[in-house]
């Protein structure tokens, strides 16, 4: 079977799957799977026979994990979902991230309240990773507006990066056995100390797998005009690390806003990074004119990509996991909006088209070539 481009689109009303030939001219949509139930995380696991996973965040009956072994034609619940130990006192409120682990069937899952679970059997059984879930800081983390979520899991050999809102960036250098807060240079705008040890509202972290020491972060910016204790803290929103996340520096200069949620790295060029600046008060694009901003030099300068996007009167949010990029030779970006639109940015975001106009509000978008 020729390679296909697969999209998983997690929405407030279930998971949709879109599929296209590599030309990406038109996508066929199916779903919703897990109908009526919000999906905040999905994963296209391309190791071996592709498997698709999605969280199924049921406000009535609790969290589930859905799995498809037929490229998204059907989904079934895995035998169990992450669950806190009975004597822990916490109850699972949401599933925010699903990532592959080292073993062929290993999965890692970040949840709300911020904790990490691991599965070694493709999601049928789960075990809580106490190293971060019971970290000495864990009970001091505060929920952000979206909840106290572990939204980013990046593995790099024995290094593991976690993003927590609001907890900050945590780094393990022993495969996840232990974690340390690693937030030097990561600002916080909602407390008197602008650079605390932990507690930052990190929105998303991304990296290029061939340059693992460099990481990009979309942090909770928008504090340039803060006049309270600690003073203003401009440009804390978009950051870069060149030492495996041990220290961070701003790359926000040149953006119309340092607030945003997703951050995505070009699949073939570690210097090319994409963000979607939002007005912090409304969390919508400046002037009602959506645009993705791209840097081709690691954040030294930025350019606006908006050809084909609405020029006015568009007030949507793009959430932290709602933007992704495929790995084709000339990659396309994809983002989903809280108004239910799914956009494709061909030629690395040079030209945008709306693939689907009226889906439910979109929480997450993932793409893979399978």
């Amino acid at each position: 079977m020729p390679e296909r481009v697969m999209l998983t689109i997690g929405t407030r009303k279930g998971l949709f799957v879109a599929e296209a030939a590599k030309t990406r001219r038109s996508f066929a949509l199916r779903g919703p799977f897990g109908p009526g139930v919000a999906v905040y995380a999905s994963l296209i696991d391309t190791r071996g026979t592709p498997r698709l996973y999605a969280s199924n965040c049921n406000p009535f009956f609790g969290m589930k994990v859905l799995r498809s072994t037929d490229l998204g034609k059907s989904f079934k619940e895995t035998k169990s979902a992450p669950v806190f130990p009975k004597d822990d006192g916490r109850a699972l409120a949401n599933i925010w991230s699903l990532e592959t682990g080292a073993g062929k069937k290993d999965l890692w899952c970040g949840v709300e309240p911020a904790s990490l679970f691991r599965s070694d059997d493709g999601g049928d059984t789960w075990e809580m990773a106490t190293s971060i879930s019971n970290h000495e800081h864990a009970r001091k983390w505060q929920p952000g507006a979206g909840g106290l979520c572990m939204h980013t899991i990046i593995r790099d050999g024995n290094r593991v990066h976690l993003g927590i809102s609001t907890g900050g960036h945590y780094l393990s250098e022993d495969g996840g056995a232990t974690f340390k807060a690693s937030n030097s240079g990561v600002g916080a705008g909602f407390q008197p100390d602008p650079y605390p040890e932990f507690g930052q509202c990190v929105h998303k972290i991304a990296r290029h797998e061939d340059v693992p020491g460099r990481l990009y972060m979309q942090n909770h910016g928008g504090w340039a005009n803060w006049s309270g204790p600690g003073g203003p803290r401009p440009d804390i929103g978009v950051l870069r690390s060149d030492d495996h996340g041990k220290s961070w520096r701003t790359i926000s200069k040149g953006l119309p806003s340092d607030f945003g949620f997703p951050i995505v790295v070009h699949p073939h060029d570690a210097d090319t990074v994409y963000v979607m600046p939002l007005v912090p008060e409304t969390r919508t694009c400046p002037g009602g004119a959506p645009a993705v901003w791209r840097s081709e030099n690691g954040g030294d300068s930025w350019s606006r990509l908006a050809k084909g996007l609405p020029k006015k009167q568009s007030y949507f949010t793009v959430q932290r996991d709602a933007m992704d990029v495929d790995r084709l030779k000339s990659p396309a970006l994809y983002f989903g909006t809280t108004t239910g639109q799914l956009w494709i940015g061909r030629e690395g975001g040079e030209e945008w088209d709306c693939l689907f106009e009226s889906l439910p509000p979109i929480h997450c978008v993932k793409v893979a070539v399978v």
């Binding site: 406000p59 009535f60 009956f61 609790g62 669950v83 806190f84 130990p85 009975k86 822990d88 006192g89 916490r90 109850a91 699972l92």
Partner: protein, 91 residues
Amino acid sequence: MSIQVFVPAPLRPYCGGASELGIEAPNVRAALAELERRHPSLYRNVCDETGAVRRHVNLFVNTAHVRDREGLDTALMPGDVLTILPAVSGG
């Protein structure tokens, strides 16, 4: 006490498709414990891992919501029906 538990349609896949389950329990708490023992997946849909009934799940003994009786300590009598229902909510 021999009672019937009414299972709403979305939860029937977690108890072999049954719409009603006959169990022995002196009160609602014991009924939930029996559900956990016999149908752990069904129980997990009704109660979270702390043992609390999920926020959007309502339990009725016959026609009375257990919150208007004695909560999970509400006594059950032979022939009572314990109904599990998702709350009316959404948007």
